[in-house]
Amino acid sequence: SSHEYKLNFKKSKEACLSYIQDAMLQKQWKRAAEFLTFYIEALEKDFSREYMGPSEIVWRIGTEILCHHSHSSMKEFNSFIEQMKPLGVKRYLKVCLEHAFRLLCNGLIDEAYQNLSLAESWRYGEQPTIQDKEMKLIQAYGGLLDYCSWSKQKNILLEHGQDGLEDLSVEQEMHSCFRKAAMNLKEIIKVPGIWDQFVKCYVDLLEFYGDHNEARQVLNEYAYNSKFPANPNAHVYLYQFLKRHGESKKSLLSVLKILHDIVPSHELMIDFNIMLQKSKKRKKRQLGLEVIFAVLDYAGWKENVKAWSCLARQVKQIVSSEKHLDWIKQEWNPRKDWWPAFHFTHYLAKKNWQENESLSYEKALVAGILLGKDCKYFKYVSRQGCKAQVKRFRILKKFVNKHNPIYLRIS
């Protein structure tokens, strides 16, 4: 009966697919290709109403095999994809996009551009609007490639400009590239998402043509629009833009303050701390201490000399002036039950001393002040340092001994 036939056909199809899968997972491309030639029959009698139909399976598996099979070439790959494109209308733009990605990764940028523009002009009833996401991406990648050729021509012009030659046609082409790129990139940036490279390119274009207001607006929107994900890079780009254009310290600090609230462990926090330490306002210096303590809470910063030296410098400053000891106390109190086991163990003292002497110096200073001169970390490092006749360790020991009562006051 036909039901049984369908059932058997389905079963053998599934078995064949699992053989292919098995071969691919063991990198036996030849075997997988042989099985796929049988599986292609499944395309003819596609009864399935499943989530992923055979045409998509053939597209995916065929692509993978052709990319790894020793006998395949880009030409064959292109012809395979061209055959796959009309098989699934619902996936047309996705296949086009992936095809363009393959070409891009193989360095075939012109072919990829052609493919993208072809896909952009595809019309098939309602489909282009349904596959809106893919369409937006196709336009954006088109814009990105326009930007690439724009920057190529810009470089040519700049080089020629140095030679004192002017090339009008190149300049015209460059401007047309700019217009296309700007139009396409502007579109995708409006949609919520992560568009780091598109934003960067668009801002670069705008900056080149002197449209700083637009650039700032784009970056502000990208960083502060609540519909967008909390992307630290958006804040970084804004900060870098403001810094490039010599904006006031206040606006820079406010950008970094927001970044600190989102990602307290970001690497820009070192810059933030340095800027705050230099500030004359007490509140800002206190915030600086807070920022650097928060940075060192994170495991990724555990052995970062820069961060430790920032903390050591600020702590040393506070201790020697004997003002604002309460700041240290405020930061130290919630940490004193776990920082010793996290940062200042005997084992870490040995390890830091052997691997990075300056790290152990900065850490020993902090440990000596926060935990007193009897702390394991300080004791070990200062002893080793004095033994090795390093001058700064001797000074360190003297400093900590002198300010030893402080640790009683902060704890």
């Binding site: 290709a33 998509e56 880009m74 990764c105 470089n155 040995k350 052997q354």
Partner: protein, 896 residues
């Protein structure tokens, strides 16, 4: 760790997942996902693009043809776990149900009937005793008078047998008698109300079925490998459960040779629960000086040696999770030092997660099925961070919770099936951050659920892995909700186990995923630090999948390499090798230039297998390059042409691994040894435990006393005499206190209630009622009779022959004896087991007196009572000899 300067483009949506879900067999292939361009320098016009997935990765190859057993088979006999056919309907009903819907049909009635047969006492205990007069077990027709209040059980049984025989027959009608009986008795026959009982059985059946479909208890895996403290050392420690109930914890030293092997005997701990999870972490913050510990031959350089030995003396903390207990062990860094248990906690609901902190020594995260999450510190105890039976983002019925550590030692991640949150332990109510949500944010599919989260701290301090039944995600704490990597893993079951082997700078990180039921093992590579390629884009590049996923050997795959056995043993072996996996561990080993990854896998039967993957440094998968179409053989389109003949083509493709090569001689030796030990274990059937005499008694006790006492001598004499006469000894003359004296009946019962309760407790409530209903005169008469009987008995009979001569007296004695108050009735009724012969002073008459025909074997068999029940019945009758004229049927006799 720096944040990547640019991330791969991604759309961001909010709300529930829109994409329709389903198992997609090839979803992970053929996709780059996104590409990221990098302009090389300001002057360089050339742009290069890197793909998010499908880039090139390292080449790792299996060194052997299949997984090799690491340890001998788990010694004790192994009980196969529940199989679907045990609780599913078979036969017509199943087919009928399957045609209607795809739901599984659980055989509810079978389970219920199992309960009635296995626990008759709990099911019908007291009513059975009350009603035994109204059931007739015999074969004969009932007399008219008796028929009014008695049911003939044999007829009912016949009907039931008929029903069984006709099972599967489409014209199956219920026999009216059965229907009548069930109508009559359904409401009162059962000790436990049938509705309540059925609810419980049904609930349990659903639970069992649920755990057959997906059992989340082994999440995380019960295998851990503590790598050598020194990279040059080759001895690590494998921590795994074993024993018949998987409740023994072993710490086994393993030497990492070509074929890893166990060294010495393992340290062993017996726990009182099945071990579901073994979690281990090494905390580099813990520095334990080892005072006075100087290794061998280091006398000359105590300081230096002390230093190096301290350097490698980081202890490992090992957390063990069973259903209601969690424990933490400390394995000292020094080799050879025994592991020490530190603390155990008990939970009132099963624990679902236990993870060990990689930051601070002796800190663990525990979750229970009540939705509670605890931070467990060995020093300060438990701190509850959250207790919420509801799931976080949308409603899901699963009580499973998970928790792990994050880049901040004071922040924990907590997960349920709907997503992941970060929770600050300093202010758990206020501070939390949504890290992952099953929804449009991460581009999930409908019906997707979190299966296993894992902190990837050793690769990148702020990254987490989340697996679902469809995909794997890599998340960055600094970029919440949007996964930095997503890939459809295409595994047939949800990956319950994961292991990370971090790669150094410029190398890829390796992630192993393992499933339980299907034993699948998948090796993935991803890259998060890519300093060399993108000098302009910051030192840290966006996370990308490197290379292709690779399937590793499963345990069941080694069946074809084991020597062939007899069919039934082959079947046993196959069954044993294909049990679900229970854990996964791996270790990267560097041996000069050669680098290899050793993967250990544990099965639910407690067997540990291992395999080695070796790194091929120079290998690079071929990528299609522009214009190499001419270079390829003419007409060699691999997809549309006739398949090339295999033997030649395999020689042409050197990088294609051979499909089935033979195991190395060392591996085959392992297989043979393992099989030998396994079949030896199979041959010995499980025996009841035996005790050696030497242990029970001391030598002194076993020694013969110098001379028998007079009592003994007499007893021996009598024994010999009795043997000569062929009789039996009724009672030893000087009455030994072999029978414990029954408690003296209280002369004056203080109140009727307590006597009634006492009677009910002893199980002869019915008799109590009779007694009560009869007059006090009767009681006095009975007491008189008793006394007379005792006097008679004191005279006794010495041999069996005597009983022939006085059979009449004997019978009357017996009827009196039935009222003997000290004889416990309950054991006879309860267990359906005859009391030991010594307690019944009743010789079996070889020729029955006329009205004793009931007790003879012939008469019983003529009544259709099975042979094995006759004795029980006889004993029973002996006890209630004076009872009703009909044969009483008890529930107990039915059960035996």
């Amino acid at each position: 760790m720096e944040f990547p300067a640019a991330l791969f483009p991604a759309h961001f949506g909010t709300g529930p997942p829109r994409e329709e879900g389903g198992p997609a067999p090839a979803a992970g292939w053929g996709e780059h996902g996104q590409v990221l361009g990098a302009l090389r320098g300001r002057r360089q016009a050339r742009t290069t693009f890197i793909p998010r997935s499908g880039g090139t990765g390292e080449s790792w190859e299996a060194a052997d043809a299949a997984a090799v057993p690491l340890l001998p088979p788990n010694a004790s006999s192994w009980v196969p776990s529940l199989a679907p056919q045990d609780i599913l309907h078979r036969g017509v009903l199943r087919r009928k149900l399957q045609a209607g819907s795809c739901e599984a049909a659980l055989d509810f009635t079978k389970q219920l009937s199992h309960f009635f047969v296995d626990h008759p006492e709990d099911a019908f205990g007291s009513l059975g005793q009350l009603l035994h007069q109204n059931f007739f077990l015999g074969d004969s027709q009932l007399r008219r008078k008796a028929r009014e209040c008695t049911i003939r059980m044999t007829a009912l049984r016949e009907d039931i047998d008929c029903l069984d025989a006709r099972r599967g027959c489409p014209r199956q009608n219920l026999v009216p008698r059965l229907r009548w009986f069930s109508h009559l008795s359904r409401d009162w026959l059962f000790e436990v109300p049938l509705g309540v009982l059925a609810d419980c059985v049904h609930e349990d059946l659903l639970l069992q079925w649920g755990s057959l479909l997906f059992n989340d208890s082994p999440t995380g895996g019960a295998l851990a490998f503590l790598p050598p403290k020194d990279t040059r050392a080759r001895t690590g420690c494998l921590v795994y459960p074993g024993g018949q109930a998987m409740n023994h914890l072993y710490f086994q030293d393993v030497v990492l040779e070509e074929l890893p092997s166990a060294q010495g005997s393992p340290a062993q701990f017996e726990l009182n629960g099945r071990i579901w999870q073994v979690a281990a972490a090494r905390v580099d913050g813990e520095g334990e000086p080892a005072p006075g510990f100087i290794p061998w031959g280091a006398g000359g350089f105590p300081e230096c040696c002390h230093l190096t030995c301290c350097f490698h003396s980081l202890p490992d903390f090992v957390g063990i999770r069973s259903d209601y207990h969690c424990g933490v062990w400390k394995v000292p860094g020094r080799t050879g030092a025994p592991p020490t248990p530190l603390q155990v906690i008990r939970t009132s609901l099963p624990a679902s997660c236990l993870t060990v902190s990689p930051h601070l020594p002796g800190e663990l995260a525990v979750c229970t099925q009540s939705g509670a999450i605890y931070l467990w510190s060995v020093e300060t105890g438990l701190q509850r961070l959250r207790r919420d039976p509801q799931t976080m983002f949308f409603r899901d019925h699963s009580p499973w919770r998970w928790s792990d550590f994050t880049a901040h030692p004071r922040v924990l991640s907590c997960a349920d099936r709907t997503g992941l949150q970060c929770l600050d332990t300093r202010a758990p109510e206020r501070c939390h951050l949504d890290l992952f949500k099953v929804g449009e944010e991460a581009g999930c599919q409908q019906g997707e659920r979190v299966v296993l989260p894992m902190y990837l701290g050793r690769a990148n301090p702020s990254q987490h892995l989340v697996t679902t039944q469809f995909s794997v995600y890599v998340l960055d704490e600094r970029l919440p909700l949007v996964p930095v990597l997503k890939w459809a893993h295409m595994m047939k079951a949800p990956p319950l186990f994961a292991h990370l082997a971090p790669g150094g700078p410029g190398r890829s990180h390796k992630v192993l995923l393992g499933t339980s039921r299907t034993q699948e093992l998948l090796l993935l590579q991803y890259q998060g630090n890519f300093g060399r390629v993108f000098s302009t884009g910051g030192s840290q590049s966006a996370c990308q999948l490197a290379g292709l996923p690779q399937k590793l050997h499963s345990i069941s795959g080694c069946l074809q390499h084991l020597p062939t056995e007899l069919p039934h043993q082959q079947h046993l072996l196959q069954q044993r090798l294909s049990v679900p996996a229970a854990g996964l561990a791996a270790v990267l080993q560097k041996d000069g230039l050669r680098e290899s990854l050793l993967v250990f896998q544990l099965s639910e039967a407690g067997d540990v297998f291992c395999q080695r993957l070796t790194h091929r440094a120079a290998a690079r998968p071929p990528t299609p390059t522009p214009g190499d179409g001419a270079a390829a053989a003419p007409g060699s389109s691999p997809l549309f042409d006739e398949p090339a003949s295999s033997p030649q083509s395999s020689a042409e493709c050197p990088q294609e691994p051979r499909g089935s090569h033979q195991p190395s001689p060392a591996a085959s030796l392992r297989y043979r040894r393992w099989l030998k030990a396994f079949s030896k274990g199979c041959r010995d059937p499980p025996r009841p435990p035996t005790f050696g005499q030497k242990r029970l008694f001391t030598r002194k006790e076993l020694q013969e006393p110098p001379a028998p006492s007079t009592q003994q001598r007499q007893a021996r004499q009598r024994l010999r005499q009795a043997m000569r006469d062929g009789g039996c000894i009724q009672r030893w003359d000087p009455l030994p206190s072999a029978l414990p004296e029954p408690p003296e009946p209280v002369e004056e019962p203080e109140d009727p209630l307590s006597t009634r309760l006492t009677a009910a407790w002893c199980g002869d409530w019915a008799r109590w009622w009779e007694e009560r209903s009869s007059s006090s005169l009767a009681r006095r008469q009975q007491a008189l009779r008793e006394r007379r009987w005792r006097q008679k008995r004191a005279r006794g009979r010495r041999s069996l022959s005597a009983s022939f001569t006085s059979s009449l007296t004997y019978q009357s004695e017996l009827s009196e004896h039935s009222d003997f108050p000290t004889l416990p009735l309950s054991p006879v009724l309860r267990g359906g087991v005859s009391p030991p012969a010594a307690t019944l002073p009743l010789p079996t008459p070889s020729s029955p007196p006329p009205h004793e025909a009931l007790r003879s074997s012939q008469s019983l068999s003529s009544r259709g009572i099975p042979k094995e029940r006759r004795k029980t019945l006889r004993d029973y009758l002996a006890v209630c000899g004076d009872g009703p004229p009909e044969l009483p049927a008890s529930q107990a006799s039915q059960a035996c």
